[in-house]
């Protein structure tokens, strides 16, 4: 009688290790926190339960893990902002759970599919927000930014609406991965104002793209890039970047402390500088042993 299992080394697509940290704070001025965030793993796995195959013929356990980071900065009246950011994220999760076939590894073709799906989901999340606002007049006009970064193996996909941000810190350099969807930035993009004027422009918080609000402007930027060993990905709401200079963010990341620690340090800097808005920061540090 044979009923042996076939144990052998775990076979995963790419051995990526990720150190994650996240923190959100209402700041020193705002009465409530209208930022929401989520850091989650998506895993698929296969395990041999029973077999008569000889040992070592097939992997006993196989697993693939993807990492998702989302920030959402809500706006719109007393209850609207908090409701908007929270609803958008939970609608997105619901849509992901209903998707029959998660894509768990990427090539160029599949990356396009993933970005297309993210784009569709953002639109569907907006529909949920608009419907909620329609049913409850206190929520009328509520909206939210959303910045999503999702890593599958050594590739990162980004979907982005609004003025929250995603950064990449690689080999001592900080790179901004997203473009702010604000009026001030739009003016700079067409050359009406200089890039250095954006940070102090009166319309630097006026959103050109948002999920919800009047509807129809949830136009997401989509991006895909390869990750390397040592890369750090940072997502944040403008409550951080309005208070802390990019140079200081880069310096904190350069020290190489664990993600949770750096999140705390950055939050403290923002609060010390005034904490004028809700702030949220997420950090993912990637190790890819060769």
């Amino acid at each position: 009688m044979t009923a042996e299992k076939a144990p052998s080394a775990e076979a995963a697509s790419q051995p990526v290790q990720v150190d994650l940290g996240a923190l959100s704070h209402p700041g020193k001025v705002r009465p409530s926190n209208e930022d929401h965030y989520l850091v989650a793993t998506f895993e698929r796995s296969m395990r041999t339960l029973l077999t008569s195959l000889p040992e070592g013929e097939i992997p006993y356990h196989y697993a693939d893990t993807a990492y998702g980071l989302l920030v959402a900065d809500g706006m719109g009246g007393a209850a609207g902002g908090e409701m908007a950011s929270r609803t958008a994220i939970s609608a997105l999760i619901e849509l992901v759970l209903r998707t029959p076939d998660w894509i768990m590894s990427l090539n160029e073709e599949l990356a396009k599919d993933v970005l297309h799906r993210l784009n569709q989901r953002i639109k569907q999340a907006e529909a949920v927000l608009l419907e909620k606002a329609r049913l409850d007049p206190r929520l009328m006009g509520m909206g939210t930014t959303m910045t999503i970064a999702c890593s599958l193996g050594a590739r990162l996909v980004i979907a982005h609406v609004g003025d929250s941000r995603a950064y990449l810190f690689r080999k001592g350099q900080l790179y901004r991965l997203t473009c702010d969807h604000t009026v001030a930035q739009a003016l700079a993009n067409v050359g009406a104002i200089g890039p250095e004027a954006v940070a102090s422009h009166p319309m630097r918080h006026l959103l050109t793209h948002v999920i919800g609000a009047q509807g129809g402007s949830a136009l997401a930027d989509l991006n895909c890039l390869p990750l390397s060993d040592g890369d750090q990905v940072l997502l944040c709401t403008d409550g951080l970047t309005d208070m802390v200079e990019e140079a200081a963010i880069a310096q904190s990341l350069a020290v190489g402390r664990p993600a949770a620690e750096v999140c705390r340090a950055l939050a403290e800097m923002a609060l010390e500088a005034g904490g004028l808005d809700n702030l949220t920061v997420l950090i993912a540090r990637y190790r890819m042993p060769q």
Partner: protein
């Protein structure tokens, strides 16, 4: 000001405009992970010292979303995040030693390899995805056939190696079957034992074309002659692919002909009904087969399904 509208309320999401969701909004408790499946499997070479050219494999695939860090309130996240799929496979190798043993093992290994290579496992059902699953299964059978012939070309000892293959894959109540050869899949529902696969044998072809009944001597003589298997170029390797719905209490049995040659349907049904556990049923089936004859390898894989109660 608190709003107690639940963001996960079905009505809101199902009213979302185009692009349409493929999956209609399900009731909250139909996640495939909530189906209890009891599994057992046994294989016996038959005679003392005989080689076992049968192989079996039982797999469980899972997907899960795990929130690690968040400031979302608990109510904003759904309560279950995982889906589960079970795979059961039997293969009966042909072609003498070492070919038969190699063929059946290779078929199973190749399937695992192809599944791992597939980036987007279907782990939740919809009509569109059911078609994808069936198409993939047919494609995988074709590629195993190709692999077996390529391997045999390189190694004279493996000349003519081939194998039957019967695959069952269950995702919640959805059952997919892929089959070629004369191994079998049965479903015990209530008292009734239904054969889910059709043998690819000359005997079965004679019965199907109305030329003879099953008890007919000539038909019986032809029941071992395969008309299709994986690995033999001249046979038309057309796999049977089926999609069925499981019910509460269903028992799914996969077996090689070492069982069905020696144990009739009534006895099989009785053993499946009477056994207290899937493992006991497998032991009893093997015992019943060996008590008649040890001429062939005998393999059984059994899954007993318990569906969650509707709310």
């Amino acid at each position: 000001m608190k709003s107690d509208v639940d963001p996960n309320e079905e009505g809101l999401l199902s009213d979302a405009p185009e692009p349409a969701l493929e999956v209609p909004p399900p009731p909250p408790h139909t996640l495939s992970s909530m189906f209890r499946v009891e599994l057992a499997a046994r294989s016996h070479p038959g005679r003392e010292g005989a080689h076992n050219e049968d192989h079996y494999l039982v797999l469980r695939a899972e997907r899960a979303l795990e929130p690690l860090l968040t400031n979302l309130p608990e109510a904003a996240l759904p309560c279950r995040f995982d889906e589960t799929v079970y795979g059961m496979l039997v293969a009966d190798g042909l072609g003498g030693m070492p070919a038969g043993e190699t063929a059946s093992a290779l078929a199973l290994c190749k399937i695992v390899e192809m599944v791992v290579e597939t980036p987007d496992w279907v782990m939740r059902m919809s009509r569109l995805k059911a078609a994808v699953v069936k198409r993939r299964m047919a494609e995988r059978f074709r590629r195993i056939d190709e692999t077996l012939r390529e391997r045999a070309d390189k190694d004279a000892r493996l000349l003519g190696m081939s194998t039957t293959l019967t695959v069952a894959c269950s995702l919640g109540p959805d059952l997919f079957l892929g089959h070629i050869g004369d191994s079998r899949a049965y479903l015990l529902r209530g008292d009734e034992l239904q054969q889910l696969t059709r043998d690819h044998t000359l005997g079965q072809a004679l019965i199907d074309s109305g030329i003879g009944e099953a008890e007919n001597t000539i038909v019986r003589g032809m029941r071992h002659v395969l008309t299709a298997a994986l690995g033999i170029a001249e046979l038309q390797a057309g796999a049977q692919i089926r999609h069925l719905q499981l019910s509460q209490g269903d028992q799914l049995l996969l077996c090689t002909d070492g069982l069905t040659e020696n144990v009739d349907a009534a006895t099989t049904a009785a053993i499946l009904s009477g056994a207290h556990s899937a493992d006991e049923a497998c032991r009893e089936l093997i015992k019943a087969a060996l008590s008649v004859s040890g001429d062939d390898n005998v393999t059984v894989v059994l899954a007993r399904y318990s569906l969650p109660q509707a709310a």
